[in-house]
């Protein structure tokens, strides 16, 4: 967390101009929001920014339902983590296998192309019937959401390994296995990482969607509860939490990528 903070800060400092524009854009948003909430008095309900932020920070100590907002976020993130990790491991294995073996690609890819266009949320009903109402159905949805991206990118990565490098490794005495561990895998890392990055944000979106449809906790549930109780402030609190977490997740991935793929800088 500290590292993310540092990177963000460094980036901002490196570009004061950008910082200025960010401040201006948020200030504009807040002013517009404030004006809208004042004008809307008595018609639709738009709570004022201060009210929402106050509720947001209050919810860190005062529970919404059974849990504080941090606990809800933790619950949601835990599910995302499980689904994402399982999908990443399996996705990488299958993707790389397809990349190195045309036969595997010929067999797996058609299935893949068939399943891919079905958006993850379309699986929610089936998933609830198969896995019940608890966490497992959401983990399954997250798995489906991230699996495709990781697989496709790992496949692309393994397929695009420069054959000259494989040749060079063989000439230096590498066995097939070492060619895999010392050339094919490391050279695929940037592709794989791009896949992981998309997968994680898609996972987060899928988790929220699954929670909104049916859940007993988590940040998506905060929104649904807000809607059911006509509590617009609570809805907005939930949305802010979703946005902030989404942002943190993608920044985290960018930082990790920056460390792992230092050699590939120019492509990111």
């Amino acid at each position: 967390m500290q590292r993310i903070g540092k990177t963000v800060w460094k980036r901002l400092k490196a570009n004061r101009q950008t910082l200025l524009w960010i401040v201006i854009s948020f200030a504009t948003l807040l002013i517009a929001w404030q004006v809208a909430s004042m004008l809307s008095q008595g018609r639709v309900q738009i709570p004022a920014p201060l009210e929402v932020f106050e509720a947001f920070f209050r919810s860190m100590t005062v529970p919404i339902g059974k849990n504080t907002i941090l606990e809800h976020a933790g619950i949601s993130l835990w599910r995302v983590l499980l689904g994402f990790v399982v999908a990443s491991v399996i996705g990488m294995a299958i993707g790389i296998l397809m990349g190195v073996s045309p036969k595997a690609h010929a067999v797996i890819n058609p299935l893949f192309e068939f399943v891919r266009p079905i958006p993850p949320i379309a699986w929610i009903p089936l998933s609830i019937l198969w896995f019940g109402l608890g966490s497992s159905n959401k983990i399954f949805i997250i798995f489906l959401a991230s699996f495709t991206y990781v697989t496709i990118n790992s496949y692309e990565g393994a397929r695009n390994v420069d054959p000259k490098l494989i040749g060079a490794a063989r000439m230096l005495g590498a066995s097939r296995r070492r060619v895999f561990t010392h050339v094919i895998f490391p050279s695929s890392v940037p592709y794989i990482f791009a896949g992981l990055q998309i997968a994680l944000s898609v996972s987060w979106a899928a988790e929220v969607a699954a929670e909104i449809i049916y859940s007993q906790n988590g940040v998506g549930w905060i929104i649904t509860m807000g809607m059911n109780n006509g509590n617009i402030t609570q809805i907005m609190v939930g949305m802010i939490a979703i946005g902030v977490i989404g942002y943190l997740l993608s920044t985290l991935m960018r930082v990790v990528e920056g460390r792992l793929c230092r050699w590939n800088r120019q492509e990111t």
Binding site: M171, H182, P186, R265
Partner: protein
């Protein structure tokens, strides 16, 4: 000059389907010798090295190292390709160590070897750079250091300096000669640059057009370091050029 035979190429024939590329080639390279092969574009120079290292199956004849069929697990052969083949995700130092890590050499030894050869090719201060931060000549040096770090008994080089400008080429050629002298390794060096062949080789094989045969074998007894402006050098260069005119 009674060195044992290191590499023996015996009636080598290589076809790609119906395309006859190497047509009955025989020659041998002595232990510790520096052999240059020149030949026109597309005559099969790369094909020859690929056949030697087993990247291609040969159609006929045989290639042996120390009288045995080539086995990359056993014979320490280093092959430097026409294109740069540094691993982009590794630093200079890690690239130089690459082959040693592949062979599960002890980390300490790998480090020492890398140190030595980085020093020899003048890359020590760039050890933490990644390939995309290096110039073409530095990349080729990394590849050369990586090859020498394995202490090869046979070094194969396929127009390694073809893409460099003249000055850099001279420097790398001299570096190569130094490494060769220090290590005593056997070198087969392919080029289409006649001056380069005359500057480096103890012997020069001139190949013909496809289907490729050996047109002429020239011993080069000029003492090293050679002076490219000396009359003997120019004479030998012209002699090779004459042969090549008929390509």
């Amino acid at each position: 000059m009674d060195r044992p035979v290191k590499v023996k190429v015996d009636h080598l024939v290589k076809k790609f389907d119906e395309l006859l590329v190497l047509d009955d080639i025989s020659f041998s390279v002595k232990q510790g010798e520096f052999l240059c092969i020149v030949g026109p574009t597309g005559c099969g120079k790369t094909t020859f090295l690929n056949s030697l290292t087993g990247l291609y199956d040969i159609t006929g004849g045989s290639i042996t190292i120390d009288g045995e069929p080539v086995d990359l697990k056993k014979h320490r052969v280093a092959y430097i390709f026409q294109e740069y083949s540094t691993m982009p995700w590794l630093t200079v130092e890690q690239n130089v160590q690459f082959a040693l890590n592949l062979k599960r050499e002890k980390a300490e030894k790998a480090k020492k070897q890398a140190e030595k050869y980085m020093e020899l090719v003048g890359l020590t201060e760039f050890r933490d750079y990644y390939p995309d931060q290096l110039s073409a000549s530095m990349l080729q040096r990394v590849v050369i250091a990586r090859a020498f770090a394995t202490e090869p008994e046979l070094l194969l080089m396929d127009e390694p300096y073809g893409q460099l400008d003249t000055e850099l080429r001279y420097r790398l050629e001299n570096e190569l000669l130094n490494l060769w002298r220090q290590s005593g390794t056997t070198v087969i060096f392919i080029t289409h640059n006649i001056e380069e062949a005359v500057y480096l080789g103890e012997r020069i094989l001139v190949l013909s057009n496809k289907p490729t045969t050996i047109k002429k074998e020239i011993a080069n007894r000029l003492p090293m370091p050679r002076d490219i402006a000396a009359p003997e050098f120019i004479e030998l260069r012209n002699q090779v050029t004459e042969l090549i005119k008929w390509w």
